[in-house]
Amino acid sequence: MGTLGDLIVQVVVIGCVYAMIAVAFDLVFASSRVVNFAQGDFVAGAGLIAAILAVTHGVPFGIAALAAGVLIALVGMVTVSALILPVLPGITQRSVSDLNEMRWVLTTIGVSVTLEAIGGMLTPQGAIGVKPLINGGVNVAGIHVPLYDIAIVVVAVAMIAGLHMLLRHTIVGQMLRAVAADRYGSAAVGIPVRRVIVATFVGAAALSALAGVLIVPFTQGSASGGFALGLAGFAAATVGGLGDMRGALAGGMVVAAAELMGARFVNSQMESVFPLLVMMLILVFRPQGIFQSGAVERV
């Protein structure tokens, strides 16, 4: 079992990381039909801010992580309010008859490029190493499982379960589900659609930040990891059904398995291609995601 067991453990842990990023994509897409191409950079950016504060400036990691979360949530707030909502059809008077529904593609890509450039300027010495807060591991059937990895899995599952409860059992959740199902109808019955979109965007940014500071001991604080993370998270979201958080964990596992197993047993040169291949297969054969039954309900 030895090394295969190690591989499976890593698939589970990385799958949970991708699931957390997928959830962020799902939230944003559900409420606004926008795919935030900067989502991965929110993850990496939060890790980078926490790394700079904790390692370069000696700030205790908990406070550094909090600061990173606040900053990234702010970035999310600015992005959605200033750059997304004004060009989203049906939200502002001006664009209600706008035929170009895809301007957010360019704006989110622009945010992504900008964040990576700023990150590059903040790291003239390259990546910053961060030590994990918890050390040591347990031995499960001959496989060494670090405690930190278990913590990542726990946080990911708790995050997704918590979101699930929020959506099913709170008014806010109901409003989000309504907006996800029908934006125009929700507006007609008085649901504050703009505020819901802002809330999901900022919430997704905060969740991305949480994922980012959690994984920074592995990814190292750097500006350049964001794109790869975002791509993997997006692939996970698509496989699980874009906009549907129930598929996020499974989507994450599938993508992580494709990536690691493909690299290990097929060809490591194509490691980053396997998740995309899986995503393309899903889009061709089951575009609603492996867990969606094709029903209307999206969240």
Partner: protein
């Protein structure tokens, strides 16, 4: 009215053209403008900054003595962010708008390759610590002719690999695993290793690629461990290398690790921590020498830049100084004339004796290189 305005415009245009060509004539007598493309931000910045600092020190020292051909040396610096497309844009801008007479850098392999491929358009000597792989200098392999405009002063990948293989052979290592960067820097090294092993005896039992921005190296580490090698060669920059080393430790692999000289840097020590100890790599002999020249360089570098010079600082300082000597000998900074002079270089540098000929454009040879081992944040002779 229209006619008068037209005439005025033509006259104005003629005056402007005359003025700009006059200023171009004047500029020919102004400072000697040299372009520097450095990876000043991003993953390769420790090397890029060292490269720039080496050139800066050499230029400042010569300026203090009256400059080059009696003219001040002026460096025009651009950051390529370790990105080949930014590097090529910068190279075109430097050669065509800024009218520099030579370009130093880029150091990142993919960027260096891209700029070297444009040498026909740039028409200026391209020198310095230019990416370590063979195709940068010899586009058709070492058997073929070098790129006429490219002159490299850096420990190339083949030279490093040959030294490491010789050392490994002396330890009896026959089965080699290589984990390499999945791009123009790492991929040619597999061939370099194959070539060195066919001479020294040995075989590659595992070859795993890793993306430069990979999140995780578990798959590669497990594949390497499963092949049961005698030694693992890592060929990538610090961040992915540290992830490989961590994944190998996590997998419980106890195999000795050899690496590219990219790992002999404080940044790798910070990222890999105690896992860096015991890793074997290469360095320049001169980095460990103490004589008047080397000490003077070290002290000047330290007092100017507040850190110790690294391998890239040594190489780029030598590259700058041999370029100045070539310009001096050619009695002009005209790029073509200097290029021809560079091919007759015999320069006693800090790094060793650098010889360029019409067939050889690579300055550092195996004689200049030695094996080192990383111990507690320092590289010591092995």
């Amino acid at each position: 009215m229209k006619r008068a305005r037209f005439n005025a415009l033509v006259a104005g245009g003629a005056i402007a053209a005359a003025a700009s060509s006059a200023s171009r004539v004047l500029a020919a007598e102004g400072p000697v403008r040299i372009g520097v493309i450095g990876s000043l931000t991003g993953g390769a910045s420790t090397y890029g900054v060292a490269e720039q600092d080496g050139i800066q020190l050499a230029a400042d020292e010569l300026n203090a003595k009256g400059g080059l051909l009696g003219r001040k040396i002026e460096l025009v610096v651009r950051d390529d962010q370790a990105d080949p497309s930014v590097a090529t844009t910068a190279a075109l801008e430097l050669a065509q708008s800024q009218k520099v007479v030579a370009i130093f850098g880029p150091i990142v392999n993919t960027a260096a390759l891209a700029v070297a491929r444009m040498s026909d358009q740039l028409k200026v000597p391209i020198l310095g610590t230019l990416g370590a792989t063979t195709p940068v200098v010899y586009p058709q392999g070492t058997a073929g002719p070098p790129n006429p405009w490219v002159f490299r002063v850096l420990v190339s990948s083949p030279v490093q690999v040959a030294a490491l293989v010789a050392y490994g052979a002396s330890k009896g290592y026959k089965k080699w695993a290589i984990v390499y960067e999945n791009d123009a820097y790492g991929i040619p090294t597999v061939n370099d290793l194959q070539a060195a092993l066919s001479r020294a005896g040995g075989a590659i039992v595992a070859r795993e690629a890793i993306a430069i921005d990979a999140t995780d190296a578990t798959a590669q580490a497990l594949a390497v461990k499963a092949a049961n090698p005698d030694v693992i060669l890592i060929w990538t920059i610090q961040s992915p290398a540290s992830k490989i080393v961590q994944a190998l430790a996590r997998a419980g692999a106890k195999t000795p690790i050899f690496s590219a000289n990219a790992q002999v840097s404080p940044q790798f020590f910070q990222l890999a921590g105690s896992l860096a100890n015991g890793i074997v790599s290469t360095a320049l002999r001169s980095q460990y020498q103490s004589n008047a020249r080397v000490d003077a360089f070290r002290n000047a570098y330290r007092s100017r830049f507040k850190i110790d010079p690294t391998l890239w600082s040594f190489c780029s300082y030598d590259a700058a100084r041999l370029y100045f000597e070539a310009v001096d000998k050619a009695r002009t900074d005209d790029p073509s004339a200097v290029r021809a002079q560079l091919e007759k270089t015999v320069y006693a540098g800090l790094t060793g004796r650098i010889v360029f000929t019409p067939k050889v454009h690579d300055g550092i040879t195996a004689a200049d290189v030695m094996i080192v081992r990383i111990e507690n944040g320092k590289a010591v002779p092995a």
